[in-house]
């Protein structure tokens, strides 16, 4: 069973679920920091952007007008950290009038109905 697998200290599968906008709270930034630190642990990492989380990947953010850190470029560096599985939910984009062309990075678009399967494939769900 899954438990036995994990107890052996083998590679665990982490899914980071991002559901909040990038600048109204610090959660998006601090979630990203966890992903980057986690990458050093040689675990299997996936990121999922649903609901308002899709705004985190919006192009042309200028948080400097509010004196905020512009961490949106960090998403472009995810590949260098071997975080290559980035999923975005289609329905979340559509509800907000967004398409993949509006996003900073290449992502895999999945349907709402596929979210459960993705969650089921992972051992740890981190959602901030």
């Amino acid at each position: 069973m899954e438990d036995d697998e994990n107890q052996g200290g083998e590679i665990k599968k982490f899914l980071y679920v991002n559901r909040r906008q990038p600048h109204g709270t610090v959660y998006a930034l601090e979630s990203l920091e966890t992903v980057l630190i986690g990458a050093a642990f040689d675990q299997d990492v996936s990121m999922l952007f649903i609901d308002d989380g899709v705004y985190q990947l919006k192009k042309e953010q200028s948080p400097d007008v509010m004196e905020f850190k512009n961490f949106s470029k960090t998403y472009k560096a995810l590949e260098m950290y071997d975080v290559e599985k980035v999923f975005v939910e289609r329905e979340s984009l559509e509800e907000r009038g967004l398409g993949v062309d509006d996003l900073l990075i290449d992502v895999e678009v999945i349907a709402s109905a596929d979210v459960k399967a993705l969650v089921d494939q992972n051992d740890v769900i981190l959602s901030f």
């Binding site: 649903i50 459960k116 089921d120 959602s127």
Partner: protein
């Protein structure tokens, strides 16, 4: 056994409960805690949403949070089981993973 989904916000205040329910399925469970607990009470506007969800997922509510809010003696929706913190721990242990919808 699937995923234990924890929801802690009132469906009258935030959309978290809807957002969780539409992305889970067979074998998954939902535990309503804190401000989400009140939605387990019979006769609220969120009853239908929960009844639909109960067709494929098992629903639980944290009793102490209901008691704190004055619903110790309230009638709950048929499809929802009340648990205490010991039951909460059991749910965590008997599911494969925990997903807190924050």
């Amino acid at each position: 056994m699937g995923t234990l989904n924890i929801v802690n916000k009132s469906p009258f205040e935030k959309r978290t409960l809807d957002q969780c329910l539409k992305r889970i399925g067979e074998g998954d469970s939902v535990l309503l805690i804190e401000d989400a607990s009140v939605s387990a009470v019979l006769g609220t506007a969120s009853a239908e949403l929960l009844l639909n969800a109960s067709k494929q997922s098992k629903l639980y509510v944290l009793g102490p949070d209901l008691q704190a809010r004055g619903f110790a003696d309230a009638t709950l929706l048929d499809s929802i089981e009340s648990v205490d913190y010991e039951g909460f721990v059991n749910l965590v242990v008997t599911h494969d993973r925990v997903h807190s919808w924050l």
